[in-house]
């Protein structure tokens, strides 16, 4: 499997897709473009419509209105078994009455490929996902969670899909294994060169693996971009808050009320969004566009960083400082803090 040489072309798109279940609109007027060969992740809170969307992309649900396109072909009404795509389900949906090998061979068996050829192909897929050949005859219940994950991946890859869909496959796995599999998935994507479309509610997963991310809310996409863009330049308070801890200040007539400061250089109305790592403790004559005093209310250990919850007037703020730089900040003290407007983002809503 080699990387696609068409990287960058639009391979899958939706045009004004809507899905209704009775009175409920799970997805509304959604337009989306996914590029050939990219690792594209759709992130959103529960009930945002992301699973419905991926099921429509995979042909497991039909849109109520709108269309789904594979390159220049309208595949809206093409059933799942006739699409060049494959899904790795949240539950993995492995066939427990079949062995590991039989699971991986399933798609080829459905196509009438002879047993010998199927077996060779299955063993090749097992090597790609780093499963030992000896697992070929194992039953699914004899495999650990991580191994089952690999079987599901190998089974999907064995059908040689143009696009692979993942519906939160790591959500039920413990933290340590999830981190390993995240890296392996990214590596697998690089080695196969296939288009991966991934659904998750975990921001961390999305950031680690994705080339581009779409944030979904209430059945529609509110922002699409690279992980870095979305994190550092969120288009709305919702995106900013969804992508992690954030400080939000309302701007009126070029000023924020608490802590009081003139921020007209960034805008006159809207919301100023600031990541906690950009809120610094100021020493002596340290310069910052916005400076204020705040009481340190509490301190939390985040591994390599410390998180501080601050109070400045009516405002509750959050700051994160790398541990070597955090000396001298303890709950109860009043200290000077500040940030530069260049590190902040202005959003309209």
């Amino acid at each position: 499997m080699a990387r696609s040489d068409r990287s960058g072309d639009i391979i899958l798109s939706t045009r004004n897709v809507t899905k209704r279940y009775g009175q409920v609109e799970a997805v509304r007027e959604l337009t989306l473009e996914i590029r050939d060969g990219e690792f594209f992740t759709i992130v959103g809170p529960s009930g945002s419509g992301k699973s419905t969307l991926i099921r429509m992309l995979g042909g497991l649900e039909a849109p109520t209105t709108g269309s789904v396109w594979l390159r220049d072909e309208d595949i809206t009404h093409v059933p799942a078994n006739r699409r060049p795509t494959c899904m790795v389900f949240q539950s993995l949906a492995l066939f427990r009455h079949r062995s590991v090998g039989e699971n991986i061979e399933f798609a080829q068996k459905m196509r009438g490929v002879p047993p010998g050829e199927r077996r060779r192909h299955a063993l090749e897929m097992m090597r790609i996902v780093r499963l030992p050949d000896s697992y070929y005859n194992r039953r699914i219940h004899q495999c650990s969670g991580g191994e089952q994950q690999r079987v599901a991946l190998a089974r999907a890859l064995a059908s040689d899909p143009t696009i692979l869909f993942f519906d939160e496959p790591l959500s039920a796995i413990d933290y340590r294994l999830r981190k390993i599999l995240e890296v392996e998935m990214k590596d697998l994507h690089r080695r196969t060169g296939k288009t991966f479309v991934y659904i998750t509610h975990s921001l961390e997963e999305a950031m680690v693996m994705s080339d581009r991310i779409s944030i979904m809310r209430d059945g529609n996409i509110v922002q699409t971009g690279t992980p870095r863009d979305i994190y550092s330049r969120p288009g709305s308070r919702f995106v900013a808050q969804f992508m992690g801890e954030v400080n939000v200040f309302e701007i009126r007539e070029g000023r924020i009320a608490s802590p009081e400061a003139d921020v007209s250089a960034i805008g006159r109305h809207g919301y100023l969004v600031l990541r906690p790592e950009h809120l610094r403790r100021l020493d002596g004559q340290d310069a910052a566009d916005v400076r204020f005093e705040a009481i340190v209310e509490s301190e939390y250990m985040l591994g390599s960083r410390l998180q501080y919850h601050l109070r400045a007037g009516d405002a509750s703020l959050v700051a994160e400082i790398p541990i070597p730089a955090a000396t001298g900040v303890t709950p109860g003290i009043t200290a000077r803090w500040g940030f530069d407007l260049a590190d902040a983002t202005l959003t309209e809503d």
Partner: protein, 282 residues
């Protein structure tokens, strides 16, 4: 923990006692009678296998063959009806499925004889509900299938259908929908999904239902006599005739033991193959 260890056998004791007195003892008595000389009613000091040889030489194998054939046909027809019905009910789920299930289950709470006599009234020629209505409303005169093998088969299917449907439905409940979706997603056609996923996963339930149906149909009597009339003499009717009219209890007992043996031949291999624990979600 002593009480804990004893709890199982203690709880099972009443049922075991009932089985011992209500099933095992009568079977042993019937077995003892089957070894007595023909037309005797008590111990004569002589034991014989002549009743078993008579069962094969006097044409009773025909009655047994008819019973087996009708039971097998009933089982196949019930399975053919129950599989799509169970699949539909499984998909419906929720309140609508409950209503449909109740509609199917309700007749079970009415006496089998009442239902069979109702069906006989329905099929009766001339003044029967079907023929009478067709004649009165449409002026069409039709014959009847009452007192035929077809009527008996119809009755067997009608009575035993729920015994196949509900275990089949239980089998479908063990079939995760995501596995069907995964198979479709991996390129399986409708037939391939049935063969590769539905059949192996839902089959234990359907087979359990089929087993109930076959065993109950093999021992069915009322359907044959009320709807089948004299059209066919099945083994249960032959046994009843030996015990009542012919007053030949040993031969009746011999025929009964053959039916029990046949049932065991069908049931035990099945029980060895089907994972009952899985079926009851343990």
């Amino acid at each position: 923990m002593k009480i804990g260890r004893r709890a199982g056998p203690l709880a099972a004791a009443p049922a075991m006692l009932l089985l011992a007195t209500g099933f095992l003892v009568p079977v042993l008595i019937v077995f003892a009678f089957s070894l007595l000389p023909p037309r005797t009613f008590g111990w004569t000091g002589e034991l014989t296998l002549s009743n078993y040889s008579t069962a094969f030489t006097d044409g009773y194998w025909r009655n047994l063959a008819w019973s087996c054939m009708l039971a097998a046909l009933t089982t196949v027809l019930c399975l053919l009806l129950a599989w799509p019905a169970a699949k539909a009910l499984h998909r419906l789920a929720g309140h609508r499925a409950t209503a449909v299930t109740l509609a199917i289950a309700l007749p079970i709470f009415i006496s089998e004889s009442v239902r069979l006599f109702g069906m006989a009234l329905f099929l009766m020629p001339g003044g029967g509900i079907l023929a009478g209505t067709l004649d009165a409303v449409f002026g069409i005169s039709v014959g009847t299938i009452l007192n035929t093998r077809i009527a008996a088969l119809l009755g067997l299917v009608y009575i035993h259908f729920p015994f196949v449907l509900f275990p089949t439905l239980l089998g479908f409940s063990l079939l995760p929908n995501d596995q069907v979706e995964a198979a479709r997603d991996l390129g399986a056609s409708g037939w391939q999904v049935f063969r590769e996923i539905e059949l192996p996963l839902a089959a234990p339930g359907a087979l359990t239902g089929a087993l109930f149906c076959f065993v109950l149909s093999l021992g069915a009597y009322a359907e044959m006599s009320i709807l089948g009339g004299q059209a066919v003499t099945v083994i249960t009717r032959a046994i009843e005739q030996r015990f009542n009219y012919a007053q030949d209890w040993p031969l009746g007992a011999g025929l009964t033991m053959l039916v029990i043996a046949l049932t065991a031949i069908v049931v035990f291999p099945f029980l060895r193959r089907v994972d009952i624990d899985r079926l009851i979600h343990r």
